[in-house]
């Protein structure tokens, strides 16, 4: 019987990880499952690893999505949220986004502390990002699919911390003016969020096209 080699097993593991499966034990369990499935496909259809892997992985967009949803339904949302936030600390893109987010935090801080009172601007600055975050987090828990969402999760935590910090400083009667730089940061952040959502839509379309192409190619 054809066996999947250790290197190929490692490849499957990495691919599951990149695909959004975030728990170590779940990655191991699914790796074992995929290896068995690939070996069975190699045996039954007399395919080499590459073609069997393609065939099995062609089913994965839905597979991963369903696993993620199932996991979310198993009351592990908070753990998944924390794990993803932690994983994102290892990537430079997180720090780029953090820079933007700190800019927004500065704007919120300024808005909240200006004249030691809540203003319409301060309210907008604080509420709009909060609403964005709630939507993004809710969506990411539901889909938990792309690398954009873990970053947004981590940033959401940062934002909330900054908001509380701003409220704390307000209590000490500090007064800082709203800066143009801060506003630019905020525009950049909204640009980032919009870009992330567009990327997700693009990935979905690409996956659907690849799935069709692989299946069509194998059975032609």
């Amino acid at each position: 019987m054809n066996k999947v080699s250790p290197d190929q097993i490692h490849q499957i593991r990495s691919w599951l990880k990149e695909g959004g499966i975030c728990y170590k034990d779940q990655i191991e369990e699914l790796t074992d499952h995929m290896v068995l499935k690939i070996e069975a496909t190699m045996e039954e259809a007399q395919l080499d690893f590459a073609r069997a892997f393609k065939l099995v992985s062609a089913q994965t967009p839905l597979f991963q999505l369903k696993i993620a949803r199932g996991t979310a339904l198993s009351n592990q949302n908070i753990r998944g949220f924390a794990v993803q936030a932690g994983q994102s600390l290892l990537d430079w893109r997180f720090y780029l986004a953090l820079l933007l987010w700190l800019g927004l935090g500065r704007v919120c801080l300024d808005g909240l502390t200006e004249n030691n009172q809540w203003t319409v601007d301060a309210g907008i600055l604080a509420v709009l990002p909060a609403l964005t975050i709630i939507l993004v987090v809710a969506f990411s828990i539901r889909v938990r699919r792309s690398w954009y969402f873990p970053y947004m999760n981590a940033l959401s935590l940062m934002y909330l911390s900054l908001l509380f910090l701003a409220m704390g400083i307000k209590g000490f009667n500090l007064s800082i003016g709203v800066t143009e730089t801060g506003l630019l940061f905020q525009f950049a952040l909204y640009g980032y969020v919009l870009w992330a959502w567009l990327q997700v839509a693009r990935i979905r379309r690409k996956e659907a096209a690849e799935f069709y192409h692989q299946v069509k190619g194998l059975y032609a």
């Binding site: 097993i9 034990d25 191991e28 369990e29 499952h33 839905l62 696993i67 996991t71």
Partner: protein, 110 residues
């Protein structure tokens, strides 16, 4: 068959029953066993199987253990003490439901 709502509602009961008969099993083995026993009529997709297994584990009905097999970890599931009792209840409920369905279908002359 995996998208059949009847199967979705009964999957956890079928898993509990399989584990009662087969002792400890891993995910792929469970899906293959279900397929073989039903002569291909029940083909459970991974997206349904693993969430169901994890849910049963979270409810304390299953116990797990891992073993290294060919350079990878394999997770085995088996019934817990609590699972043994719950399996009996759920299988009885399912049998009763099937009996009621048959009765209704017979009355309707279907």
């Amino acid at each position: 068959m995996s998208s059949n709502p009847l199967l979705k509602g009964s999957l956890s009961t079928l898993i509990l029953q399989l584990l009662q008969d087969g002792g400890r099993m891993y995910g792929y083995e469970i899906s293959q066993k279900l397929k073989a026993l039903s002569k291909g009529a029940i083909e459970v997709k991974e997206g349904s199987l693993y969430p169901a297994l994890h849910k049963l584990e979270a409810e304390g009905l299953l116990e797990t253990s891992t073993e290294v097999v060919d350079n990878r970890l394999r997770k085995y599931y088996k019934l817990s003490e609590k699972g043994l009792g719950v399996r009996k209840e759920r299988v009885s409920e399912l049998e009763e439901m099937i009996r009621v369905f048959q009765q209704v279908l017979k009355l309707q002359g279907i």
